[in-house]
Amino acid sequence: MATKFTPLTPPNSSPGKPDLPKEIHAQEFPPALDPIKPRISPVPGITYLYNKVTKYVNGSKIEFNTTPGEEYINIQHGNDLTRLTFFADGNIEIIQEEGNRLDEINGNYDIDVRDNLNLNSDSRLDNQKSYLNKTEGIALHNAARIYLSAGTIRLEGNVIINGSLKITDGISNDGNMDVAGIIDVKGNELPNPEYAPVDPVAAQDEADSFEITYKA
């Protein structure tokens, strides 16, 4: 018959200097993962003997907590600014309360996210030689102003503009143009004057005047 191990009960703190490391979660000691508190997982519970900690002089530590249901693996710097933690619920937290971060990759870098990918930043700069963005559903760009700068900008498909359109250079149209409102022409004439409204009084066309030399 297999021997069943049970954790020991941590002794209550007594007057005087605590004689237990804070990682065993004894009374009046701070909770686990302090002072960098968990962001997406709840604060894990710790039971004495299930938590194994290797702690160094400057406070850096490697921590394996195997308290049933509360397991986590934690690597934390002694400056209490950065930690990497693997939680029991599958969450992983890499926390930098200060400092920068660099991922330098010589090959490919694939990020495969099955659910949502959220990026939050003050500003974002993408530098690449080519860029392809494919979206199956609706792609929404919401900004105060959007600038597109290229030698040629090509829009494939129908374009609907809910607002006014200002063109500072010429415009050409190989197809039809439907105008539900009024065309206000500030220049000399419409591109094809034949499409302009005609005065009923002057509606009668006259024959063009020319001579014909017939081919023998």
Binding site: E194, V198, I212
Partner: protein
Amino acid sequence: MQLEVSKKSFGVINLFESYEINLVKRNKFIKVPEKLKINRFPSKTTSILNSTPIKLSNFFFDENLIGRPLSDEERRTAPFLTEENYVENFDPHHYSIEFLYNNLQRLCMEVLDPVTELNGKRPFIENALLFRSNLSGVDMDSFFADQLQGNAVVLNFKNDEDNVLFDRSLQFITEFSLFDRLLVDKTLKKYERPTLMISVNEKKRGIIGRVGRD
């Protein structure tokens, strides 16, 4: 037509160096495909400029060839939108809308669609159907009469360097279209570019002429 044939052109066949073929020109107009047949003529339409365009061919709608309201056949009047947006009436076109649309569609089949397909772009249409509420003083055997009946079009090509599109279209129409008159206007006096004036009607005489202007 006499064709010179190189022996190499036929590989081992060297029995003849030339042969004669006869290009038989059609004498019947191109049939309008079922999908393009007009089932509802805009006779009840108050103004073609305010209604849904009617497709005459693969590349052209009625509004491409008709620049102004025609008429309501039954009321014999056609409203007109003035600059002040008042609706006024004026005498309708002399010919019925069905007659004009059928003629314009035939013109598209014989000339405009093939030329568009040949060049890969639509020609610039200087004018097609012209308007007259009566025919007094009109020479009925004239290009103008064809313009009034929707049988004629005046076209040219913008940005046509070295007149490539113009020459290609002229050659094609001459060889393959069933036209009555084909007038070539290279005077540049009325139109900015070399221009073709083509009429298609039952006479099918294939008359080719050069336009001169004062």
